[in-house]
Symmetry: C2
Subunit: 314 residues, 2 copies
């Protein structure tokens, strides 16, 4: 028995801008990523390997706000955040504000396995990466025309923006879409071990070295074999203040709720009451999958050992 | 009715190196900081103001590993972390890896109140500080001879070190003391509002932009009027993985435990089982104070509206 699920971000996804072609493009990308993790789990590989491999595919795609497709900061750079956690022994690794790293999820795993630390930030984290043989990519690797147009439309504004749609007929910023661009994966392997991981480029036009919930163990990512594995996507500040990922785990462990009850309470009650838009993907130690969101949509895919692959957006 | 408590770090404090003079020096510093917060609470000020004012006194003292007395990094600099949370509305602010900031706790409060974000990192956080009129201190402000000697004794080692004692008779590193240098405060004000804050210089000889639990909402700091206010000090990596501060809150809210029961379970059972040394200070919405630690000692002081000021180390 095993289970795996992934997300590619959540938000107001503007159905009227979503052509069948675009929907198919995303659906294929989600499926390709899930197949990568599924193959590992099917051959009795670890949930940790499956989560990392799945997220790497999403990071390598220009479609999602992580790795290759990361949004631009106000300084026209990319600052990436990621974290990973292994439910077997509660080990964890995370990086915040790193530039030039092709796969921040793999760097997070290196922090977990090859350092005495959990969280490394900025230039220091990049120096750690180099010391472990990771190549620093040129900024050009992360250039995509969509992200560049998104930045140009809002760079003169004071605020950071969510990963938004670009409307060629309206050169000023129009929040037709409001996406919380993030990718993540959770998995249960045949040995009963849970793992979770999350990766993001953050907010378009972000300044001041802002980090959201993605690199924060307990907020954006959590895994514990006793309860569940969680990866979040949403308005990061609200997710940090609500310690969302660990909250689901505590509601199960201390409150006696099922995975589904805990997820609904956190995402559809507590976060809604506090104004925190977004969603999460969750798997419990029995392989149950729950994918709640309180926004219009969430890019997602999931599969159990016996099922086919499902993908959905709305 | 109000309550306030502070800590100045925990660890193996080597009683045999602790002269009565040294003990008195620390005791006076702890008392002066607590008096600052107490005066605010006594005149019906907010828990948030009391927590910030108390921590500023500790940051300005050379005795504690935060602000002025911060330890040196491997690069012979200081990288400071801090966070603050307001239990009334769950708002929060934090900074990680900032240099040249005299009072990181006040910068955290500015992030909370004057930005749309919760966590700012490194150079970006410093630029935010400047934009809000905060002066960047010269590195010389943070120079203290003790911290410099501590660095010189371990700079050739691969590892980061806890805030340790310097033994003039033994020039090689000797872990007579193993202190988790951090400062923090928690308070309940007469209006029933809880607040918590934490500030640290991290680990001597730290590299790679390492951050511990101090800037992490849910791990090192948490406050919620419904449950409690918590500030932690200890081996940060273990505290992040155990989401310590929010765990105490969840054990109360979902598990029905009292503040004392929740604190004992987290600090003296769960953390001990996982190898995480340290402690925390906690106040609940009724003004109860609990100051558990699983290390040899924890610098601490506390007071209620009707009591005198208590200070203790072992």
């Amino acid at each position: 028995m095993y289970s795996i699920a992934l997300h590619g971000g959540a938000g107001t996804l503007a159905r009227h801008l979503f052509t069948p072609e675009k929907e198919l493009e995303y659906s294929i990308a989600l499926r390709l990523a899930l197949e990568e993790g599924d193959a590992i789990l099917k051959s009795k590989g670890s949930a940790l390997d499956a989560v990392e491999a799945t997220i790497k595919v999403l990071e390598d795609s220009p479609l999602f706000n992580a790795g290759k497709g990361a949004v631009f900061t106000h300084d026209k750079k990319h600052e990436l955040d990621a974290s990973i956690m292994w439910g077997k022994d509660l080990s964890a690794g995370a990086v915040a504000g790193v530039s030039g790293i092709r796969n921040p999820i793999s760097l997070s795993r290196l922090v977990m396995e090859k350092s005495e630390h959990v969280l490394l930030c900025g230039k220091g984290a990049e120096a750690f990466a180099v010391s472990k043989g990771i190549m620093i990519e040129d900024e050009s690797y992360f250039y995509t025309d969509l992200r560049w147009q998104q930045l140009l439309q809002v760079i003169d504004e004071e605020k950071s923006f969510l990963d938004h749609s670009v409307n060629p007929h309206n050169p000023t910023y129009s929040p037709d879409e409001k996406k919380f661009g993030t990718v993540g994966a959770v998995a249960l392997d045949v040995n009963g071990n849970l793992a979770a991981g999350t990766s993001t480029g953050g907010m378009t036009n972000k300044r001041w070295g802002r980090a959201g919930d993605s690199p924060i163990i307990g907020a954006g990512t959590y895994a514990n074999n006793e309860t569940c594995a969680i990866s979040c996507t949403g308005h990061g500040e609200f997710f940090i203040r609500s310690v969302v990922a660990y909250d689901v785990s505590c509601l199960m462990e201390y409150g006696g709720l099922s995975l589904e009850q805990a997820c609904r309470k956190v995402v559809n009650e507590k976060l809604v009451k506090r104004g925190g838009e977004g969603g999460l993907i969750a798997i419990d130690s029995k392989g149950n999958i729950c994918l709640p969101f309180n926004s219009e949509g969430m890019y997602r895919a999931w599969k159990t050992a016996d099922s086919e692959i499902f993908t959905a957006i709305f």
